[in-house]
Symmetry: C2
Subunit: 121 residues, 2 copies
DNA sequence: GGAAGATATGAATATATGTTCATATCTTCA
DNA sequence: TGAAGATATGAACATATATTCATATCTTCC
């Protein structure tokens, strides 16, 4: 791990500048944080976890995740607006599914983090 | 991908029940969502991105991430409380670093998701 | 010890967002 | 066509949280 010392010498200005550019102060950071924001709510995360097990309709999602039908529907809309899930009407029902398989890996990493930090204590 | 049909037959009750347990309606979901919540704010994500490039003090973090010193300090406290970063005093300065290398992978996944979804459009 | 640098803290505010309730929309089936 | 099932929507509300300002704490150096 590179070390960036705490003085303010000329020598470090270049390093700081380089990191500053790498960190991308642009809209990219906003976009990435938005992805995480989708998984940052327990209600939405439950929905995503359920859909990672299989496509299903709102009725079953409500059954599995708990809460009200309206609440689940609202959360699904947010997830859909942010391209995390997609939907398809099947008769009376609407079947939801994961829109991007990257989500699976991201969630798996989150789980791994939890398990690891649990072991450390 | 397993398909969970939209009827409410007895036959599917078991499947739903199994998924329900897998989805872990317990505190685990809360904990995992909390990890994502830490990365769900652009300000905090900038800090994490910077620290992934190298350990550094608050002064340089403020320089890189922008905003006020107070704001960065508040964000660092949240990150520290949630075990995302750790700190070490070095004279007048306090050097922050990433507390768990899992974070790197999670952030990388977020970046990958962004790049991929950008290509799809 | 006092001054200046570096960081942390607390209160106050504004904003975002999750939740609930009531109701609308869309579909199927009799 | 009307009723019932399934989902979506809008408004209202409560809550969480990011941000700012002022100031306190801690450290080093003279």
């Amino acid at each position: 791990m590179e070390k960036i010392y705490c003085d303010r010498e000329q020598e470090h200005e270049a390093t700081i500048q380089r990191v500053k550019e790498d960190v991308m102060l642009s809209k990219d950071v906003e976009k990435i944080s938005k992805i995480f924001h989708m998984l940052a709510d327990a209600g939405r995360l439950k929905i995503v976890l359920a859909l990672l097990k299989g496509d299903m309709c709102v009725y079953h999602l409500t059954e599995i995740c708990g809460g009200t039908q309206s609440g689940v529907s609202h959360q699904l809309r947010v997830l859909k607006d942010n391209k995390i899930v997609k939907s398809k009407r099947l008769g009376k029902n609407v079947e939801y599914s994961i829109a991007d398989e990257h989500i699976r890996e991201i969630v798996e990493m989150g789980k791994a983090h939890l398990l690891c930090s649990a072991n450390q204590e």
